[in-house]
């Protein structure tokens, strides 16, 4: 394992220190428990939008803290859900009197820890709502499993709900909007290489030189199947087809297309994949109204990509375009 770290046990805190220095104008970082908070929190009478999860997916979530997106992020250990006291501290620090919306990616650990945190915060008299996002079509949805994972759609959800909260939409409105986004967003990813969690010291799985894992999760969880590496054209189609079929997205639908790098895939390949995805969508009559291309929800140094499609309505479109000022997304300000 070759990594730019001092000690696997302190990676998250060490990285938070650097992040705090890099973005002192936008963020305040607290360490015990670890929480990343927007610099001007709490914002009076604004719904606090809070998320969190294991570290190693940067910029998610800390990189999305700031005006127009998240009020706070709770970074767990690498690939490990944060603990309830982190979430409770985030709520306490950002509650402006209008309640808090917790955005939780659907993993057992995240759900259970946020659930406990919600109980703690409710006991403190804060109106807390939880929205679970489960946009990964690679995993079969079933009552008898942990269900679908939350992946790329999380970024879009945080941006859109964050914009609504910034405009003064109340907790009921934010929650309803969040559920609408969850209902309309779908993703799928693939991995060309595995990543190595610092405390594990070895790659999470092994792929042959000509194999890729189709339907990979963001913690290196396996997906639908292991298949031979194909051309970019084939890879993009292998992601896009299941995503399109699932909702389904149809001719005439207006969408936001999010082409995401798993971390180790260079931008040149990502743009190349994005171009193919847009062309395939145009061929099916799906209208790409907005796009996001880059490494926004990653798995450490894993090579691979994911595609996320959100079926836009006018309100979501407007909220997507609304100003945002965070380390990782910034426009309109």
């Amino acid at each position: 394992m070759k990594k730019i770290i001092n000690d696997p046990a302190t990676v998250v805190v060490d990285a938070l220190r650097g992040m705090a220095l890099a973005h002192a104008d936008l963020l305040e970082v607290r360490y015990d428990p670890a929480v990343v908070v927007r610099a001007d929190a709490p914002v009076p009478r604004k719904v606090a939008v809070i998320s969190g999860g294991g570290s190693g997916h940067e910029p998610l979530h800390g990189g999305f803290v700031g005006r127009g997106m998240l009020d706070a992020a709770c970074p767990g250990a690498v690939f490990t859900s944060p603990t309830p006291d982190q979430v409770a501290a985030a709520v306490a620090r950002t509650d402006g009197g209008a309640g808090a919306l917790l955005i939780v990616k659907n993993y057992t650990g995240d759900v259970l820890n946020f659930e406990t945190a919600g109980e703690l915060a409710a006991a403190d008299g804060v109106d807390v709502r939880t929205v679970v996002i489960d946009d990964d079509v690679a995993v079969k949805d079933s009552l008898f499993t942990a269900g679908r994972r939350g992946v790329g759609g999380t970024v879009l959800l945080e941006k859109i709900v964050g914009a609504a909260a910034e405009r003064g939409v109340d907790l009921d409105g934010c929650e309803a909007l969040a559920r609408r986004v969850v209902a309309r967003v779908r993703s799928m990813g693939l991995a060309l290489t595995a990543c190595t969690v610092p405390h594990a010291g070895e790659p999470s799985f092994t792929l042959a030189d000509d194999e890729m894992e189709l339907g990979i999760g963001i913690h290196g969880e396996p997906g639908r199947r292991r298949v031979p590496v194909g051309s970019a054209e084939e890879m993009v189609a292998a992601l896009l087809d299941p995503v399109l079929e699932d909702l389904p997205f149809q001719e005439g639908d207006r969408v936001l297309l999010f082409t995401n790098s798993m971390g180790g895939t260079p931008l040149i390949e990502l743009y190349l994949a994005h171009g193919i995805a847009e062309r395939l969508l145009v061929e099916r009559g799906v209208v790409v109204e907005r796009r996001l291309v880059g490494p926004y929800i990653t798995s450490l140094e894993m090579q691979g990509m994911s595609l996320t499609l959100l079926k836009l309505d006018d309100e979501m479109l407007e909220l997507w375009d609304a100003p945002v000022h965070t380390p990782a997304l910034r426009w309109g300000v």
Partner: protein, 208 residues
């Protein structure tokens, strides 16, 4: 043989040592069908607990409650709230008696299991720690009703937990991260079931 606050604390220190010792094994098991952090999570949590135990609470229940809150705020992942809930329910079950007997320990284990199921909604056969804990509780209860002491109760629980853990190998996971693997999860030992068995075996060893 007494089962006081101090002896429970001592037993949990021993658990911490065993968890640290098996850290890599649990990581490896979790890498096979999860995300490879179970050993790290447990080691982090129990190490934190050891330093909290510099001051031992006055009752066994107090020690279990301290374990619960410490694990909840340091383990993270799925295991954190699940083990945390287990210890919290166990603490509530034992109340503030100063010295636990066999039936009290069996009842605490039952409460722990109920807490894990309430939180995680896993059933027997879902390939989770529930598959280790369920037979452990049954064994503990049957020993306790026939007059077994703490050591016998925990010994029976540990034996059953180990068999229960082994029984997860052929199972197809239906809960937790391993469920994403579907059929591919069969053939692997569930890391949480393994850590449950380790924990009970260590407690049993200390009760002797």
């Amino acid at each position: 043989m007494a089962c006081t606050a101090e002896s429970v604390a001592e037993a949990l220190r021993a658990v911490a040592a065993v968890v640290v010792e098996h850290r890599e094994e649990l990581i490896r098991l979790d890498r096979e069908i999860g995300d490879g952090d179970h050993g790290e999570n447990m080691a982090r949590g129990f190490t934190a607990l050891v330093s909290k135990l510099d001051e031992v609470p006055s009752s066994p229940g107090g020690v279990l409650r301290l374990a619960a809150t410490t694990l909840i705020s340091t383990v993270g992942g799925a295991a954190g709230p699940l083990y945390g809930t287990a210890f919290l329910r166990a603490a509530t079950s034992v109340g503030d008696v100063a010295d636990l007997d066999g039936p009290a320990v069996a009842a605490a284990l039952r409460a722990a299991l109920d807490g894990v199921v309430a939180r995680g909604k896993a059933a027997l056969g879902d390939k989770t720690m529930v598959d280790a804990l369920t037979p452990a509780v049954a064994a503990a209860e049957s020993v306790a009703v026939t007059g077994g002491g703490v050591a016998e109760v925990l010994g029976a629980a540990a034996d059953a937990a180990e068999m229960g853990a082994d029984s997860t190998v052929p199972m197809v996971a239906r809960k937790g991260r391993a469920s994403y693997l579907g059929e591919r999860s069969a053939g692997h030992l569930d890391p949480g079931a393994r850590s449950t068995a380790l924990l009970l075996r260590t407690l049993a060893g200390r009760a002797r």
